[in-house]
Amino acid sequence: MKLINRRRRFLRDALALTGAVALGGCDKLSETDWAPKILDSATGLSHAAHRALSRDAMAREYGEADISPVFRANGSTDPQSAEYRGLAAGGFRDYRLGVGGQVAHSLSLSLDDLHALPNRTQITRHDCVEGWSVIGQWTGVQLSRVLQLAQPTRQARYVVFRCYDAMDDGSEYYESLGFDDAYHPQTLLAWELNGKALPIPNGAPLRLRVPRQLGYKMAKYLRRIDLVDSLKSIEGGRGGYWEDQGYQWYAGI
């Protein structure tokens, strides 16, 4: 009888524990310091697996018939800083993309300078972290070409993108890429969407395109690019505005 009682108690406890962990417990665990870190370890596994399986494979390029009638704009759609408003009022003639940090040659590139570089046009899909997808045609220069001009030093490991758009907390949007993504042939600094100058809601005058990652990696309203050896000392230290809010730095999933 004792054994049966103990077994029944075990049954009941096991059920209760399973229920508690699976439902109510998840909210409490989400608020702790340690549980999200354990959960986040899966992202490293995903990144390693994706890298091993897909290496430099190209994102699917679509036909003109596949282009979305409207390329949905998300996040910031109209930066309000005086500096940006001034540039926009002048049709971005005075715009300069700064390239610096751990590079041999710091650059200051106008849109004309960028247009003069060999460019690339691609019709690719844009997947938002929210779940929706749109397809658009992008024209720009491969980031690798700009990096070749600037020549990153041996210490440089990340490319950091600084933007003009201020977020709700007052900080400016930023993002970062590792070198494998930065040198991928489809990673562009784009100034044209669907054959027209990039509209303001979509990131005028220049935005990043990284078609093998989610939309939040593709920083809009680019101000400057910095090569760095670590992301730790920048803003929240996690490599991007949304990353600092808890989103994964590797956004290929």
């Binding site: 077994r7 075990f10 909210d27 994706h50 699917r60 679509y62 596949d66 779940g131 994964q248």
Partner: protein, 292 residues
């Protein structure tokens, strides 16, 4: 696992008919029991966190891209003139008022615009980043556990012996349908082997839903799409993959409800004990003692 091991415990309860004995059989091996419960926890968390992710854009489409004006399913909200929020579920061309359930539901006593209600999502409040963290961690656990199960089931012949229907099973399928409809379940020794509908259900859920939900999850990854283009195109595009991923999840819910129902009607205590401790009791006719 349906075979009766030599060490089956036999006892004759004094208060029962003299010709029946209750035999306790070691039914589910320890690895299967562990994998069953890991799988159950994974599915619960994947479902809750999946609904959290769905809520970030509570609409589904077919094709490569989102046709925002024409989702085949959406859980939206509208505000009427009196300022009240109503949940509106659109399925194809049909619209339903689903206030309280889908589109608009109560959170902390307030009407809140959200696809699925807070009690169904992990975490409860709208928190996409955390939902993704839970989802991808348990997706790995689910896939690894599933792969271990398939390897174990092949190695121990659990798959071929207990799950794949035999010819006799297929011939008896009509009878099995009627038996299920009448809630007539096999007793005694016959209860130890899976019936044909059970076998089909397990195979469809494990290889169809389980394999399918993982593949459709991978097909949603923009990075994996660079090598899985054939798969994405085979189902019609990334948005189709997202829809099918969701439908497999709904399939798991349907399976779960039927599974729980069958567990209850065939003896909840006995079934639960067998999947926790491995031991399952059956009533059999008393046989010549020399058999035992």
């Amino acid at each position: 696992m349906a075979s009766i091991p030599d060490d089956a415990i036999c006892r004759t309860p004094p208060d029962e008919a003299p010709h029946t004995i209750t035999r306790v059989v070691y039914r589910h091996t320890l690895p299967l029991r562990i994998m069953h419960w890991i799988n159950a926890i994974c599915l619960l968390i994947l479902l809750g966190s999946g609904l959290q992710i769905f809520n970030a854009h509570p609409a589904l489409y077919w094709g490569q891209r989102s046709t925002f004006e024409r989702p085949w399913l959406s859980l939206a909200a509208i505000q009427t003139h009196d300022g009240k929020l109503h949940g509106v579920t659109t399925l194809g061309t049909h619209r339903f008022d689903t206030t309280g359930w889908f589109g608009v539901s109560q959170m902390h006593g307030q009407s809140t615009v959200r696809g699925f209600p807070a009690w169904a999502t992990i975490p409860g409040p709208q928190w996409l980043a955390m939902g993704r963290a839970w989802h991808f961690f348990f997706a790995w656990l689910f896939a690894i556990n599933g792969a271990c199960f398939v390897a174990y089931a092949l190695w121990t012949r659990h798959l071929t012996r207990d799950l794949v229907p035999t010819r006799r099973d297929w011939r008896g399928i009509g009878r099995s349908v009627i038996d299920h409809a009448l809630l007539r379940h096999p007793k005694g020794e016959a209860a130890l082997r899976y019936n044909v509908l059970q076998r089909i259900a397990y195979l469809v859920v494990i290889f169809g839903f389980g394999g399918g939900v993982v593949l459709m999850g991978l097909a949603m990854s923009p990075r994996m799409d660079s090598v899985l283009g054939w798969l994405v195109d085979a189902v019609g595009g990334r948005q189709s993959a997202r829809s099918i991923h969701f439908l497999f999840a709904m399939g798991f819910i349907a399976f779960f409800l039927i599974h729980i129902f069958e567990v209850i009607v065939t003896g909840v205590g006995n079934n639960l004990r067998s999947i926790i401790t491995g031991r399952y009791a059956i009533e059999t006719e008393a046989r010549d003692e020399t058999d035992q």
